[in-house]
Symmetry: C2
Subunit: 140 residues, 2 copies
DNA sequence: CAGTATCCAGCTAGATACTG
DNA sequence: CAGTATCTAGCTGGATACTG
C-alpha cells in the first residue's frame, strides 16, 4: 500500500505551490499593487492633481487632499511601503513647520506607465463586464 | 461664520470621493483582478497547465490540480465570478459523472494579454524592488 | 505640517463536512 | 466529478486621539 495518504499528498503539493507563489514575481507585484490605495497614490504622483497632467512631486497634505477618502494611517503606511520598495522618494525640507514631498522614482514611473495599460483595458472593456454581469444577474 | 464644520467638510469630500471610486473603471478592474486567485486561474486558462502554452479549456479538477493551493470554495467562487463577468465560459457535458470545462472568452483572453504586460514588468523590475527593500531594511 | 499609536469592525479566505 | 454549506481565524483598513 501507499506510504503517504491523499491528505499528505495534498499538503505537500500545497506547500510546494505556496513556495512557488512566494517566488513568482508576477504574484508579488499583484500583492504589492492591489492594496486599496497604492494605485491611487501612484496615479496621483504620476498624473498630477488633476489626474491627467505630468508626474510631479507632491506634499503629504496635497496627496491627502487629492486622495480624499484616505485616512492618515493608510496614506502614511502606503507611502512608507512604496518608499521601501524604491517606487517613491521622500524628501524632507527643514522649514518651519517641516515640508515633506513625495515623488515617483524612475522605477515608480515605469510601473505607473505599465499600469496605464491596465487603465486602458479598463476603460475599453469594463462596460462589457458590467453588461455581462447585468445579463447574468437578471437571468438568474 | 461657516455653516459647515471641518468634520462635515471632510465627510462630504470623502463621500464624493467614494462615489468617484465606485465609478472609476480602473479601480473596479483592480478590485476585480486583485483577488488572491483570479490571476492564477486566468493565467492557468490562458497559458495552459505548464503556464507557457496556448490558451485552452480545462476541467474543474484539472484547474484544481494546476492551482494547487486553492481550496474548493475559492476555486468555485472565483470561477463563478469570472463567468458572471463574461471573462470565462462554463460548459457542462452530461456524461456520467458530469464533465465541466472552463475556457477564456474573447474578453477574458484580451484581459489575459493585458495582464502579460504586468507580468513583463514584474519579471524585469521586481529584482530592483527587492534590492531596494533589502537596502532599506538593513539601513534601518 | 506631517506624522505616530491604539483599538476595533468587517471582510476574505481557509478548514471541514456533506451532496447530486 | 464537481460542487455546496457552515464556521471561524486572521488580516486590512477605518476611527480616534495624541506629538515633534
Amino acid at each position: 500500500m501507499a506510504t503517504t495518504t491523499a491528505a499528505q499528498d495534498r499538503a505537500t503539493s500545497k506547500m510546494a505551490y505556496d513556495a512557488f507563489l512566494a517566488a513568482c514575481p508576477s504574484h508579488q507585484l499583484l500583492d504589492r499593487v492591489s492594496g486599496k490605495w497604492v494605485t491611487l497614490i501612484l496615479a496621483g504622483l504620476g498624473s498630477g492633481p488633476d489626474c491627467a497632467g505630468e508626474p510631479r512631486a507632491m506634499r503629504y497634505s496635497e496627496l491627502a487632499r487629492l486622495v480624499a477618502g484616505v485616512s492618515q494611517k493608510m496614506l502614511t503606511q502606503t507611502l512608507r511601503s512604496l518608499e521601501r520598495d524604491g517606487l517613491v522618494s521622500r524628501t524632507v525640507t527643514p522649514t518651519v513647520p517641516v515640508t515633506v514631498t513625495y515623488e515617483l522614482t524612475e522605477l515608480g514611473l515605469s510601473l505607473h506607465r505599465t499600469m496605464r495599460a491596465l487603465k486602458q483595458w479598463a476603460e475599453t472593456h469594463m462596460d462589457d463586464v458590467f453588461a455581462s454581469r447585468a445579463a447574468h444577474d437578471t437571468s438568474a
